[in-house]
Symmetry: D3
Subunit: 140 residues, 6 copies
């Protein structure tokens, strides 16, 4: 059977910091360095969402890119763009807002809605800077 994956890129600009409330200030700066700056810093995040499915011959695809774009807009961009990841995003409360936790959080927000649309979420990739990114493939 001929399965393909499609990938859609989206972007959001957010503030955050890395900080463990259970640690002293000294330890926070020792572990997180400048990422612990009290007054926050921020990033232009780039997210790549990859879904898998079997092509419908009448359309040439299994999911319209426009539909994928709309789901990412609703469940990723709306809650994260121009927000503070530590303060404004309920599903990140109590977690470090590392790119690693964030990529898992995005997966968990998107996955049920993609499943409802009948396709399989294969990977979420999240760039924090041009040099650093994280990938999540779901629980194994």
């Amino acid at each position: 059977m001929k399965q393909v994956t499609i990938t859609r890129r989206a972007r959001f600009n957010a503030a955050h910091k890395l900080w463990n409330e259970g640690w002293s200030e000294e330890k926070n700066f020792e572990v997180f360095g400048k990422c612990a700056n009290h007054n926050w810093h921020g990033h232009n995040y780039e997210v790549f969402v990859t879904v898998r499915g079997t092509i419908d011959e009448s359309t040439g695809y299994f999911m319209n890119f426009t539909e994928l774009k709309a789901l990412i807009q609703e469940y990723v961009e709306e809650p994260l763009d121009h927000k503070n990841l530590n303060l404004d995003v309920p599903w990140l409360f109590g977690k470090q807002t590392s790119v690693e936790n964030l990529v898992i959080g995005i997966w968990e927000q998107l996955e049920p809605h993609l499943a409802k649309s009948g396709c399989v979420l294969e990977r979420v990739r999240l760039y924090e800077t041009e040099n650093n990114y994280a990938d999540y493939y779901g629980e194994s």
Copy 2:
């Protein structure tokens, strides 16, 4: 055994539209939106071809990038560059010229020639825009 993959990028600029002859004009625009524009639109496509093999110690590779480039030129760029994907490409006749169908078509054009060269086609990736791409890994 030490296997590597190599990936070569190529580009082609083509016109196309999404249109299902069996549907009314109304339904075509409802499903395909502006991609159904009668007079076509177009893209700068970027294709990434990934092949796998075992390194020959005398050369340091299993397939010369120049050879891979030439195969992509002959079987992808020649038939697709500065063409209309719906009208000028026999192996796409009767199919939607979606990026999903196109990436499968490119695989099928290239694969026999790569097999003849003794290496394994692992993936074809095709970008339609900077935000949208499709991957095909062959039938599973």
Copy 3:
């Protein structure tokens, strides 16, 4: 006085061909090569619009990027995206749809609306491919 320029990027995907009605088919292919393909080809165009102004202290800018984005959307993206530049764009009728003529056309569409907003259009840059672009700075 402290003047800055701001630049906004936008994108549109269009079909076109280069063809001179006054010439034989032979001469058209001799001059325009594969760009003369009867059935069209297409591009992902990228446009960069640069405007100049003097900063208003109360906002920190002279024109909101959101306003610039909206003007580009109305006068560039709406008429050009998912269109055929030769057939669907009245202000290009009778002209070659080269990147050179197109960048001038975009300038002429945008300039009056930017002037009305009180800022100066400084440059329009238009990429046709990653290797080719044209700039227009207005009549001199």
Copy 4:
């Protein structure tokens, strides 16, 4: 005389918001939209610093890229990277932290040190996102 310019790119990740203390909350959101989010947002800024000079034949340049990099590091990256532009940067206090004001601020921080090194600052370009940037060429 043979003059060239050289340009060095640098990056910094910072939080900020657009907010005018003299305005109501309502007006702030009306003018600045989501950029006024109370809890900040942030960006990966990219700065391009262009300087002009006459080549010294013994070295092949007028200013070592390493020296230019060090000046940008000291006067741009150190004060701005992983910082809050509204709260952590004395030379931006009392100003909107728009990309337009920021590019002027960077010019003013760098210019005296470049002049001391005997070269002319020609332009500072600052990207806030892949779609938006500002240029400053000094007072005219």
Copy 5:
């Protein structure tokens, strides 16, 4: 269990040539083309190192990007940047300095140190030009 991968990009600029000492000059040029130029040529290499691990809740990651960056700096950038890959890198002596052999060499240099840090090296990707790259996933 929730595993993620993180990827760090690094760069190095090096000279090299492809040349087989056991072959005639004629055969070398026939096989390697301009890559056999006696006086060397060079590249801006880009390497992407991907490691896998399970997130520690107290930090939000399994390996600090700063630590990964430092390991790449010590074992990849230091020995390769501004070097001649054929003459200056002991662990490449006697091998063709193809991107394929180089990506394996980088894996072998990095892997023991990543294992010591408790994480799994998943892939090394190496770009030689914007059009050519190689991936290595370890011995299988």
Copy 6:
């Protein structure tokens, strides 16, 4: 009169080093750092050539991109690609192979041929790395 500029990108991969024969080894390393490595290093250079002219209505351009590409190929890529800039390029003998001298050299090689084609060379831009580039606008 309506003048536009067009810009064509080209690439070449070359080896070089910075070294002043009149200086001690110690001074060379002090001034040029790792760029003085005896056994060379190298780069993927990117050159952007910008020419100005007045559009011919019958074609929509003043110079075919194909013609510009061919001139760059003959006078820039052929002599520089897969070469050693210090040893293989007669017009660089006796000069430091800095990006600054190189951009002037490229201008001087191209300018007479562009003038013969009836257009004006406006700028040559040369990237040595993603962070460093030089521009030359001709003698003033």
